[in-house]
Symmetry: none
Subunit: 138 residues, 2 copies
């Protein structure tokens, strides 16, 4: 899907970086799979792409703000940033490590309201809820 690469192409162009096959592959994989561990990303691209290239491009995407890293215990997950996908927050399972996205409009409203009450002009915010996912509540 070329249409899906518009953002990638644009971001790379802005930063005077080449649009390469590797970068498209990493981007596509991130786009089609939610928050991913580096391990999963490496596995998903194994055989197609060298580990070093995955690391290099993840780092590069991070440095130009296309990608964010969510830490979770000793592990972390990767996902495209808000500028590329809809703004959302996270439910992090402290048992199995899975991370789910949640969109919570009311939460946004409350944050806006609280900020206003405190004469604060919000620019960005981050909400992370840690606990047990459905499968880990045995």
């Amino acid at each position: 899907m070329d249409s899906g690469h518009i953002n990638l192409t644009k971001q790379l162009k802005i930063n005077r970086l080449s649009l390469t096959k590797s970068r498209i592959q990493v981007f596509d994989y991130l786009l089609s799979h939610g928050p991913l561990t580096m391990h999963d990303l490496l596995m998903g691209l194994e055989g197609t792409l060298d580990r070093a290239s995955v690391y290099r491009n993840v780092k590069l995407f991070e440095s130009i703000g296309m990608l964010q890293r969510l830490t979770n215990g000793f592990k972390y997950s990767l996902e495209l940033s808000d500028s590329l996908i809809a703004h959302h927050h996270h439910l992090v399972c402290i048992s199995c490590g899975s991370i789910s996205d949640i969109s919570a409009n009311k939460l946004e409203q409350y944050i806006a309201a609280i900020s206003k009450t405190n004469n604060f002009r919000p620019k960005s915010h981050q909400v992370e809820v840690r606990g047990y996912c459905q499968g880990c509540q045995i």
Copy 2:
């Protein structure tokens, strides 16, 4: 200071874990040095404590909810969690760097509600709003 270990002792007892010298050392180090990288923690305890024990106890503290890992730029930091220090959130000014505490009951309630809707059992959460404080909104 034995008084500082009351919480540690209690938490360990609740979880039927031993109060050991290593655990006291890790706890004390976290208590006296705010958010820390794992590397800093290891360095700080080097010579006193084996790396493996630090990892094991950090993991253990985390598993019983005494310790939280925070995203700090692209690294992670460790710090004692809300169960040991007063729960609150932050308004971080990206201009002057000032940080205000906020307590937001509605936010707490809403986070609980969202979790329920998602069949998620929350244990802790973290909210950070970044923006401009009153004095910096010129």
